[in-house]
Symmetry: C2
Subunit: 664 residues, 2 copies
């Protein structure tokens, strides 16, 4: 029998103005896909083979071992269950079994297999792909080095072609050239795709991919010349053996270079790839997935904090009255509701981005790669913006849960530790924002030269960055809001371009000028990305999957998202007089009014993210709201409580206390 | 022989414009105290008894045990070494041995002993204080409950006086009344000061302190009726056994109520304390120390990030040139320098706050408690502002270190996990800001009624919150900056008061109006606190301990701190036209120029925080800059690398891989 729901949470759900299921269907692609998603996730969550004590109770070694065991089970069970679509597999494995956390086979599926599929020749695929797909070998993708991350051309690992033996000789010439960070490399993988600098006849050809066996298939020992291990404990990722790797004259056959694009002939002749831009496609896809990951992670933290804020009662607002639910404090709403809105905003942005990606891939498949730069700029900006907002938002949610947020019982520290790397991997956020800025500057200059811009930057040529003062605006009107974000983005792009020009005029060369203007450039790129997010949120409100009640509540969220950013960075809108002090004051009052309207719908809005308890893994965020009873149970099960008196008492405390007592 | 210093770091130090030792002396109270501080810290850092493997390599139980062992050694060694002043003991224990991290005797020294000293009668002191001071008993302070934190009156644990036996009967009536979070309670303490609701003859008298034995002195088992344990793993604080505690009809003698202030006579007569405001004094002191803790923790993270940013080289700024130090990127400076400035700003604010506290205590000692409300408001605001800035700043520093920031080798995750609770404990930040706001509203209303305000709120009556438009200002001038911060604070206090009034006029009662205006009230309180920080920073620049070179560089930091906040929250200054768009553009250019000037001094400025490597506990932040060699060494020493092939291979991976190969 199901436990009784906490009466406060029940009241919240009964009082919602809309049916959360309508929004679940809107977010996850309709009733059929929602049903399937729930089915598949449940297959994982309900399977007794995947139950284990809380990972937070385990040492790192125990966590690694637990995740390894589950990774193997996943491979076997996915086959048994006939889960083959990427969507089903993602829901089963990443969401259901791993709850969004990192495991020892993660890089095998996310990088090793796709790289083989994308960059190996037919012959090479025949040789390795079947082995890899059937887990006869486990691989990873070894690119990042201790001293080299974002800047691919800086890699130091060398692969030198020896035409005599028709082999490549792999070497790590320096400490900084040590491969460092590749997931699943330290203890799990026996193969890797290695990115190394190709040298032929003393000439460098830049980084290329090589298939390299690193551990014996007999006893898993590192092969001769290979030094491999784990890089040590991290903030999170305890279940992932991120590794290091060094080579000392390790020889691999010529055929081990992945040669679908570039080739090296037996005599050492180098054959160039047809286009170097194609690799961008994968990057765009990966970054779109990160936007999705960021919004999911933020949504989880918000779910926990909003539910707990309705269960938690605190202080005496009025003498003699009961302690109010903490979500009734406007300051608490002001912490959580803008991030609730942001989680929706970025979920919808991610879905649109992925849609645009697939549509563009069709074009690219027909040989039209003109869309790539725009796609790359947009996905880079969104990846950075969403992961920055996620990081700040998860921590805001944790602290909004007071002391209990800090306990692993809340589940929020794990979400943070596990997902905060999204701001760094697949392109460090600031570096990516500057890539977006580069595209914006190029587009802006094209528009100055009379070219008509299309797509996500069309507004740069359409809008006059000149304020029209004195107008009264209704800043609740979505069109007014979109216009304001468009204006800000256009103005900041204009200002950054101006700044860049000024820096050049002081005598700086282009790289120095770019560096000097880079704070403005990042600001412009952020504003461009934010404009996309706001406009996309508003556009999606017309989706026919929404009934009027659901549309009304999402419209409020969209308004709140936009107004909160306007108030929070009001200077951006005031500086050129586009908005007035009175507009900003209006915006603040609207925010208060929107929060009051959203208050009764808050729990239903987080319910609509549709995270079952098994995925949230949080005592505070339990669907039934029975927080306090379960906190004590959880604590009692933790390792320090296995005995009433800890063994350290006998070793240290007892002799100390007794000696001190004797001296009195 | 000392290892050779990384040449990039050496160059930085050689190129500094000032002598860091001058600033060390300025920050830490002159050469004699600096010498003593270093001596005492070294006694701890160089002691082989305190060496152990990295805590990040250990399970939580091992960490607790290690910290317990060290806690005992500290007590013994402090006695042997004759360290008796609070300053020496703090430097030895908190800084040197524990490096700012939490240990199992923390609450004994920080809360149990002070409470006995402050709230026990002479008789009670004779009975317990000697035992406690000599560690014949270990105690903690048990106040917070699972369902009750900030709101003291909400506590549920009861202490009911039984005049028949002249005993108090302790009970925990509900799950939410379970004591939860007290440090060192779970496994270590055998006594506690318990805060419980006093009941006499069925009447409630509110929370009072009681001395309660919870574990046997013979075998450390919980006493009959006592349920005690550890609350389970947390984000940080692994070395601290934060505990839970429940009572079931536990009887303690009447004398166990700490009766220096309130008393219960044998017949049950309750005698009131003379003044209820005195407890504020301790709170003010504790909050001042938190400002100091926050600035120290931020300074540590900044030290690590700035040094590493000079060692790390990344990307190709100009074709064919070597990769630049990442601190040469203006975006990196923009991430780190404002927090470098903030660490200084809050260090100086903390020192001033503690100075004001001691001066005020003299007044209070003479019976003048009029300064308490102002002191309380100021310390609450600074505690909140500094811990918020610390939290954001540490994470910014971590992410500014790229991937390696995420490794425990950076030391930054531990600093964050260990100090982020400062935003929650000793008064949740938003609650505290609202207390500051309450004082500001009271003062503002007094000034409206013609009273002249003094001290930190004097400006509320002096300044006209009306902008003077069209003036040209030199926003580098410290007086102009101080005026701007003063104006913003005064204006926001005025606006919050106005908002409060408007909410009342719509028919809301006072509590509802307060809640409705609370976002504005927090904003006003923040601005007030920030004004103090900026003004204090500027005031301290005249300190004669500084020579002109040191003064020049700190002046730049002070300007940067102020201008960065102005640019970052420019709307606050633009909204009423106090600053113009052109002022803000000027401010942005000044920031760029200041950062360029500070760039060559950055390493010397973090060196001047004077954290030895032993305290930083960071591979990235090493004084000698030899980061990469030591990263590999550190990783090799970690548990997963004890063997080349992890045992999980034999248990799980080997059978899996072999079965898969057999099927091919």
């Amino acid at each position: 029998m199901a436990a009784k729901m906490n009466p406060d949470l029940k009241k919240e759900r009964d009082g919602a103005s809309f049916d959360p299921e309508k929004i679940v269907n809107f977010l996850y692609g309709g009733p059929d896909r929602v049903r399937r998603r729930r089915e598949v996730v449940s297959l994982a969550l309900d399977d007794p083979d995947f139950q284990h004590e809380d990972l937070n109770f385990m040492s790192r070694e125990q966590q690694y071992e637990t995740q390894l065991k589950k990774s193997i089970l996943v491979v076997q069970k996915q086959k048994e269950l006939g889960l083959v679509s990427p969507e089903d597999m993602g829901n089963y494995n990443y969401n259901g079994v791993f709850k969004g956390m990192s495991g020892p086979f993660g890089l095998h599926t996310s990088m090793f297999l796709p790289t083989l599929r994308g960059q190996a020749t037919a012959e090479q695929k025949a040789k390795w792909l079947k082995m890899a797909e059937n887990y006869a070998i486990i691989g990873t993708y070894a690119q990042t080095e201790m001293g080299h991350g974002t800047f691919l051309r800086g890699l130091e690992t060398t692969s030198t072609y020896d035409p005599q033996t028709q082999e490549f000789v792999l070497n790590t010439p320096t400490p900084t050239g040590t491969k460092w960070w590749p997931g699943c490399l330290g203890k799990t993988s026996n193969y890797c795709v290695l990115m190394a600098q190709l040298y032929i006849h003393g000439k460098s050809y830049g980084p290329h991919p090589f298939m390299v066996q690193i551990r014996s298939l007999q006893d898993h020992k590192p092969l001769p010349g290979v030094t491999v291990g784990d890089i040590g404990p991290k903030f999170g990722y305890a279940g992932n053996d991120n590794g290091f790797l060094r080579f000392d004259n390790v020889r691999i056959p010529r055929d081990n270079m992945l040669m679908k694009y570039s080739r090296v002939e037996p005599d050492g002749t180098y054959v160039k790839p047809p286009s170097s831009k194609l690799a961008y496609g994968t990057m765009v896809q990966v970054r779109s997935f990160i936007v999705s990951e960021a919004s999911d992670s933020l949504a989880k933290a918000v779910t926990i904090a909003v539910r707990y804020s309705c269960v938690r009662r605190q202080s005496e607002m009025k003498p003699g009255h009961p302690e109010p639910q903490v979500l009734d404090y406007v300051t608490q709403q002001y912490k959580l509701f803008p991030y609730l809105a942001a989680a929706y905003a970025f979920m919808l942005a991610a879905r649109s981005m992925i849609f645009v990606y697939f549509r563009s891939m069709e074009k690219i498949g027909r040989g039209d790669i003109t869309v790539l730069p725009e796609l790359h700029a947009l996905s880079s900006g969104l990846k950075s913006l969403s992961s920055w907002v996620m990081n700040a938002g998860i921590e805001e949610c944790r602290m909004a849960c007071g002391g209990h947020g800090y306990s692993h019982a809340s589940g929020i520290p794990s979400i943070y530790m596990e997902h905060t790397p999204a701001a760094t991997y697949e392109g460090e956020n600031t570096v990516l924002m500057l890539q977006t800025a580069r595209y914006l500057m190029k587009s802006y200059n094209q528009s100055l030269q009379g070219e008509k811009l299309a797509g996500s930057v069309a507004y740069l040529s359409g809008v006059q960055p000149v304020p029209v003062a004195g107008r009264t605006r209704n800043v609740l009107d979505l069109n007014v809001l979109i216009q304001a974000f468009q204006h800000r983005a256009a103005r900041l792009v204009h200002e950054a371009a101006l700044q860049l020009k000024k820096e050049r005029q002081t005598g700086k060369d282009q790289p120095d000028a770019w560096n000097a203007a880079s704070v403005d450039l990042v600001k412009a790129a952020k504003a461009h990305s934010q404009y996309f997010v706001v406009k996309n949120f508003a556009d999606r409100l017309t989706d026919p999957a929404l009934d009027s009640a659901a549309r009304a509540v999402l419209t409020r969220l969209c308004q709140l998202y936009a107004l909160h950013d306007i108030v929070n960075s009001s200077g951006d809108f005031l500086e050129d007089g586009y908005l007035t002090g009175s507009d900003i004051r209006q915006a603040r009052r609207h925010i208060n009014a929107l929060m009051a309207k959203l208050r009764p719908d808050a729990v239903a809005l987080v319910d609509a993210f549709d995270f079952p308890d098994g995925i949230l893994n949080s005592i505070l965020g339990r669907y039934d709201g029975n927080v306090y009873q379960h906190l004590l149970e959880w604590a009692k099960a933790s390792p320090l409580n296995k005995t009433d008196v800890h063994e350290s008492y006998y070793k240290y405390l007892k002799p100390f206390l007794e000696a001190n007592r004797a001296k009195l």
